[in-house]
Symmetry: D2
Subunit: 168 residues, 4 copies
């Protein structure tokens, strides 16, 4: 984990699912933000990153950690409509907010993906309670490590509690 002392870039997206209104990153200040960029046709996103994001969402308290999905379409633009993304969210029973990144007239990389300089999907960004990026990973991240990193960041704000689960 690094400490850059810059605010993470704001979202620039076209659609929100699982949220009654658009979310601003700045409004999530005070919570750790787990930003998971994925694409519905990307094998590693579907096999690893999306289910991991859902489990993170279920494990931590909303006051400590906010999981945000970012659907980053950088290819297959015509195929992946919002209807496809909505059906995916329904089929995978995702409960965390998912934003669809805003297309970019200047090229295939959508706006938020470009602002964060993501290399592809899946990408995972951890933003601390003060709004700074503390981790930026491309590809699958193992559970033990991401758990430890989120736990440590959450703890920076004082004592945290985890949801109870039959799995532990």
């Amino acid at each position: 984990m690094t400490n850059t002392h810059h605010y993470a870039p704001e979202f620039q997206v076209r659609t929100w699912f699982n949220s009654e209104r658009p979310l601003l990153l700045s409004a999530l200040r005070g919570r750790v933000v787990v930003l998971t960029a994925f694409q519905v046709l990307c094998p590693k996103s579907v096999a690893f990153a999306v289910p991991q994001a859902q489990r993170i969402h279920e494990m931590f308290e909303p006051k400590d950690v906010a999981v945000i999905g970012l659907h980053a379409t950088f290819e297959h633009h015509a195929a992946i409509t919002d209807s496809v993304i909505e059906a995916f969210i329904q089929e995978y029973r995702l409960k965390f907010p998912v934003a669809v990144d805003a297309p970019n007239d200047a090229g295939p990389i959508p706006h938020t993906m470009e602002r964060y300089k993501m290399r592809g999907t899946p990408s995972l960004v951890l933003i601390d309670r003060l709004g700074s990026i503390r981790k930026h990973a491309f590809g699958a991240v193992d559970d033990l490590r991401i758990g430890a990193e989120i736990g440590a960041l959450a703890q920076e704000g004082g004592a945290i509690a985890l949801a109870r689960s039959s799995a532990a």
Copy 2:
């Protein structure tokens, strides 16, 4: 495995991928056919059935076993266009022929899915060298069992050979 002594129903589909021309089941007589019905937004299809079909395709010789994917859209019809299916096949690097089941004006269940009385996706049908259905399963099927069943069916036609692989 059962032995019904009826010919398996012919395919009725709208599009073929990974095949230069439409395939007829009747033209596959003499080979064991592994028919894997899936849907690109169905979690069990994507996690289990599709990668298993690809591994079966890689393991057996084409003269013994033909793996056929059937994309069965019975919900999300508007979202799942042929472009989505084509992009999925590309992203998952599928090499076996995939047919898109033909929509049915009479209801949400497409034609081939209806003919085979499939309960949903994933579904797996094993058709023997003589054209009879010998297994029909709904849901994930474990590798050891499906391997044994295909191996036994293939052997009904005499000695088979498997592709060599670093995994074994």
Copy 3:
């Protein structure tokens, strides 16, 4: 799978578990024999080969396939007593016969392991209904492949049946 047309070597072992009397390979003629050599402290044996052997034992009918475990101690001789092996069989709830390979005064490699020229554990040998070795693998073997190979060998004797299971 190869076809050597030699009889597989007979077992030379010191102890049998899960069998009322010593088993002779020659007495298993007519059935496919799956010989799984393992060691209770060998990580790949414990993680892959032993549970796979148990699943093979559960899936096939005894008249078609006989699974035989061979505990091959080629190091840690003093530590791995028959009591350790017996406790292992009990803890892992193994139901197939397990033989403890006979120690060899001439060196660390026990007798049966030497006769089969095994390179270590786990090793898997498939013996056909006529008593010939048809496969000899060192290391983990994937389920789909071993299923196919056993299914094909079993089918050489005519129609086989698999045990029913909730997993399929």
Copy 4:
């Protein structure tokens, strides 16, 4: 995680592996202690708890987290000698200190296991930097959760660093 405000019980063990000298829990004060109780013939210990302990050991810095294995023999006493445990540690390439719990003349449950009131193996105990038990779990614990809990406890002492790894 609970906060009991009692010091965790001291170890009472007969043998140490991977440590030049006996370790006292009290001497680990200032670090988070991950105490993993296992048994070499217990399937869940071998499949889940032991490899997880090794990964925790590799991920955290020694100044933050000390992983201690406790071999808790509560059955198969005659079979599981120190030689068996030593060979297991070697075969599984464990690098963290492992203590063999001290047998109890009064019954099958060894001393440290009894002091901690463990229900069986595997058991996992998290002890904070001040020496208090904060978690006590029986059975397999998932990586995300245990990562989060250790990360949070370690962070109570200030900024932590994780080892770099190709896996993330």
